[in-house]
């Protein structure tokens, strides 16, 4: 039974009992959706369908449907890919790393954060697939015995590393997520009555895998979560490091940089937390979780954003310094061109959204306001998208031989696909919010005594 100093603000507001928690968590699943939900859901489904259309068109006619050319062979596709992967990171970090650090405040948000991770990675996974010239041959990137001699893959290729990293990341974090979900499903199962909603009952019985909360199971449960957390933590760092190696191991000035792995991971956390905030602030309204997702949680995350944001800023400066210090003309020009070339605006957007704006979090009032946080988190998301765009496009469009210098501009297909994935993401997330226990109630109950406001008040008396 862990105690906690009184001065810490409560993480669960209102005088909740275990039963209240159960009721609150189960409510969205059992009750009807409110109108916000329907509005958002309709919107995202629409975007999603549009995106599907654009993807179909691309696969039908060819990558030429995008704005790419012989010099800039990657642009929005990989930008979006890296962006989504980045977003995918906060989830696992929150649940894994914070679990290792025994951070209690993670418990209210880790479920949703992980959901976000998985849905984010799903979006990310789409891009390597559709950006291929011949997506119907995508299975060639997996080593499987074949009649071609047999013919294998090239394990020197960072893209192949990606394949392994992302598939591992996606599956492992899914499993991690699901193991945590089982007791909560069981809870919902047990609340469901056979007579009123037999179908739902059946469904959740299926999902609950027959969990009954035996002491031994709980013991194993905790051990497994701990180990998975231990595994997931290096995984988080490895995945984005590997993604960064797509660029770091190449020869293109502006890509060929050793600081990319840490720099990308930080950026990932940065954007990931921003996205978590965006989502949670929406969610706590949409499925009324005000009591569990408190300003305290938001503030903690803001602190992390402030921290990572500043580190990312440092990374930008370091890049510039290295370019200057290396004395390599190509490097120097690459970065000069980023800041002052035709894509200066993208660079400016990146700098302001990622480095300058987060500095506002030094101010307590902003740090602890839902509205401000929401807006800022949007900014950070945009900024991080631009970071990837800047890295990819501005490096490519002017590389070694000026004769092949050119520029990139997206077609409506590019845009459509990007919006499509956003739509897809929110569709998944909203559906999740209505059918899954959005807060890990089992774990939450363990900290009710230590961090619940009622108990804290008790101790004050």
């Amino acid at each position: 039974m862990h105690k906690e100093s009184e001065i810490r603000d409560p993480l669960i507001l209102g005088n909740k009992t275990y039963h209240d928690i159960t009721r609150d968590i189960a409510r969205p699943v059992e009750g009807k959706a409110n109108k916000y939900w329907w509005i958002l859901f309709g919107l995202s489904v629409f975007l999603f369908l549009w995106g599907i259309g654009c993807m179909a068109y691309t696969i039908g006619t060819g990558i030429g449907a995008w704005g790419l050319n012989k010099t800039v062979n990657w642009a929005w596709d990989i930008t979006n890919f890296v962006w989504w992967i980045g977003i995918g990171h906060a989830g696992t970090l929150i649940s894994a790393v914070l679990l290792l650090f025994r951070q209690k405040w993670r418990m209210a948000i880790n479920r949703s954060a992980e959901a976000m991770t998985i849905f984010g990675v799903v979006q990310a996974g789409l891009f390597p697939l559709i950006h291929m010239g011949r997506p119907w041959l995508a299975y060639w990137v997996f080593p499987f015995p074949n009649e071609y001699g047999p013919l294998w893959q090239n394990f020197n290729s960072p893209l192949l590393w990606d394949v392994f990293a992302i598939s591992t990341y996606l599956t492992v974090s899914t499993v991690f997520w699901y193991i945590g979900l089982i007791p909560d499903f069981a809870m919902i199962r047990d609340r469901m009555s056979k007579t009123i909603s037999p179908m739902k009952k059946k469904l959740y019985t299926l999902l609950a895998f027959g969990w009954s909360g035996r002491a031994k199971h709980w013991q194993r449960f905790e051990e497994v979560s701990l180990v998975l957390a231990g595994l997931a933590t290096p995984l988080v760092f490895s995945v984005h490091s590997i993604v960064s190696m797509d660029f770091a191991t190449s020869v293109i000035p502006g890509w060929h940089t050793t600081i990319f792995p840490p720099y990308f991971v930080l950026g990932a956390l940065f954007s990931g937390f921003a996205m978590v905030e965006t989502l949670l602030i929406i969610m706590r309204k949409v499925v009324n979780m005000e009591a569990y997702i408190t300003i305290k949680h938001i503030e903690y995350m803001n602190v992390i954003i402030l921290f990572t944001g500043s580190l990312v800023g440092t990374a930008y400066i370091t890049e510039l310094f290295m370019a200057w210090y290396s004395g390599v003309a190509f490097e120097q020009y690459a970065f000069l061109n980023r800041a002052t070339g035709p894509y200066w605006w993208a660079y400016a957007a990146m700098m302001s959204c990622n480095v300058i704006i987060p500095q506002l979090y030094w101010i307590k009032s902003i740090r602890t306001s839902f509205i401000a946080t929401f807006i800022l988190s949007i900014f950070v998301n945009i900024g991080m998208w631009f970071e990837r765009f800047v890295i990819i496009v501005t490096s490519l469009h002017r590389d070694f031989l000026p004769s092949s210098w050119t520029m990139f501009s997206p077609t409506f297909i590019d845009i459509g696909i990007f919006l499509g994935t956003i739509g897809f993401f929110f569709t998944l997330f909203l559906m999740y919010a209505r059918t899954f226990p959005v807060v890990a109630q089992a774990e939450l109950k363990t900290i009710l005594k230590s961090s619940g406001s009622e108990y804290k008040n008790k101790t004050h008396e």
């Binding site: 015995p145 074949n146 009649e147 071609y148 001699g149 047999p150 013919l151």
Partner: protein, 415 residues
């Protein structure tokens, strides 16, 4: 794949064996002559003569040439071969006789250099007795071992059953001696089976095993997609390679002339057929029915032995059997001439086939396998002299296979 390959190699070896044999045969010929000449003669004969003559008594366009050396003088033959028409004109009775016999067709003239002529003569003198047959048998033999293995399996199965029977009966005997109730064989098996599945481990084991089997099976079937081994379509003309290449011993090269020059082996144009079938109007198996199809195509009147004037010729639409995908570049001459590969290595015992079928899988794996195992024919090829030296230096003692000179690099076939 392996087995077919093994067969190929076996066959390859056997063919070599046969060649050595033929020399052996020549050894016990009465006169002392060098076998090299015979071999050379054989090549020349195959290339030039087989169209009209067989090494036997059978008549083709011309007479069978078995034992012709006894019938005719060397000089006489030389004259006749060099220019039969002049020879006939010169009024030699035998010549005229033959001319008359073979409906007044003078033999095409060949100007062999003396050594060549000597070689041919030597060959005619020392024909490879039944050599062909030997070759053929061996091929069949090699075909057979597939069947052998299966029969062996059958025997093993029987043996096991027998064993079961013996053991159970033994057991019963023992039981009887201890006067416990005995079981019939089915009972035993049944009980044993129950015991077996009673055990969880076994269940798991079975599950795993079946799972693996299923995987293997599906993988095999999948990898079999697009493999058309034994593909044997109906052809517009029931042309029999057995009759032509096998029995009449027409050299592959005679019809598929471009195999040594080009990437395509080439399907003979109708006028090549007509070279012989102007005179041969009746086939051994199908009589006139099939041959008349050629006449129909080119517009030839077999009775008057003339081409019909202004006849609109119809192309013969053969069905292609060996189809490589277009993305892979294959060159016949590369393999036949530079690589010194026998036709049969890939096309199987073609001279055995009445209707041709696809012998090899023609999958990429199949190509690669062969390239990994086949040695490069470097000896006596100026092109390789320097390279060969370097390679021997590099791979001391190892076989220098095709892959060692880059034979399994993508760019060698895909461009």
């Amino acid at each position: 794949m392996m087995t077919s390959l093994m067969k190929n190699r076996l066959l390859h070896i056997l063919v070599l064996v046969f060649i050595s044999f033929s020399t052996v045969f020549s050894q016990d010929a009465p006169a002392v002559i060098d076998s090299a000449a015979v071999l050379k003669g054989e090549q020349i004969f195959k290339a030039n003569c087989t169209a009209c003559h067989v090494m036997g008594d059978k008549k083709l366009i011309g007479p069978g040439l078995l034992g012709v050396t006894d019938r005719r003088e060397k000089e006489w033959l030389k004259k006749w071969i060099n220019s039969s028409s002049d020879f006939i004109a010169s009024g030699d009775p035998d010549a005229i006789a033959i001319y008359e016999e073979y409906n007044k067709v003078a033999m095409t003239s060949y100007y062999f250099s003396d050594p060549d002529f000597e070689a041919v003569f030597a060959y005619l003198k020392n024909p490879p007795v039944k050599a062909k047959v030997l070759d053929v048998d061996s091929v069949i033999a090699s075909e057979d071992d597939g069947i052998n293995t299966s029969t062996q399996l059958m025997f093993i199965g029987l043996f096991l059953l027998l064993l079961v029977y013996l053991l159970t009966s033994l057991k019963n005997k023992l039981k009887a001696s201890l006067d416990q109730e005995t079981e019939t064989i089915p009972q035993t098996l049944f009980n044993q089976f129950n015991l077996f599945i009673g055990n969880n481990r076994n269940i798991v084991f079975i599950a795993l095993a079946s799972f693996i089997i299923v995987i293997k099976f599906s993988f095999d079937t999948l990898s079999g997609v697009g493999v058309y081994t034994k593909y044997q379509p109906e052809q517009p003309i029931a042309f029999s390679h057995k009759v032509h290449a096998g029995e009449n011993g027409v050299d592959c090269n005679y019809c598929h002339s471009s195999a040594r020059k080009s990437k395509h082996s080439g399907i003979p144009s109708a006028n090549v057929c007509m070279n012989c079938h102007t005179y041969i109007n009746e086939g051994t198996i199908t009589g006139t029915t099939e041959i008349s199809k050629i006449y129909e195509a080119v517009g030839f009147d077999p009775d008057s032995k003339t081409y019909i004037e202004g006849y609109e010729q119809k192309p013969i639409k053969w069905v292609r059997i060996h189809n490589l995908p277009d993305l892979s570049y294959f060159n016949h001459s590369q393999h036949v001439v530079a690589g010194k590969v026998e036709c049969q290595t890939c096309h199987g015992p073609i001279e055995e086939m009445d209707v041709v079928y696809q012998h090899a899988e023609l999958t990429m794996g199949w190509c690669i396998e062969c390239h990994r195992t086949t040695e490069v024919a470097m000896e006596g090829n100026e092109y390789y002299t320097e390279l060969h030296a370097q390679l021997k230096e590099k791979y001391k003692g190892q076989k220098i296979t095709v892959d060692k000179i880059g034979g399994i690099e993508c760019g060698k076939c895909h461009y």
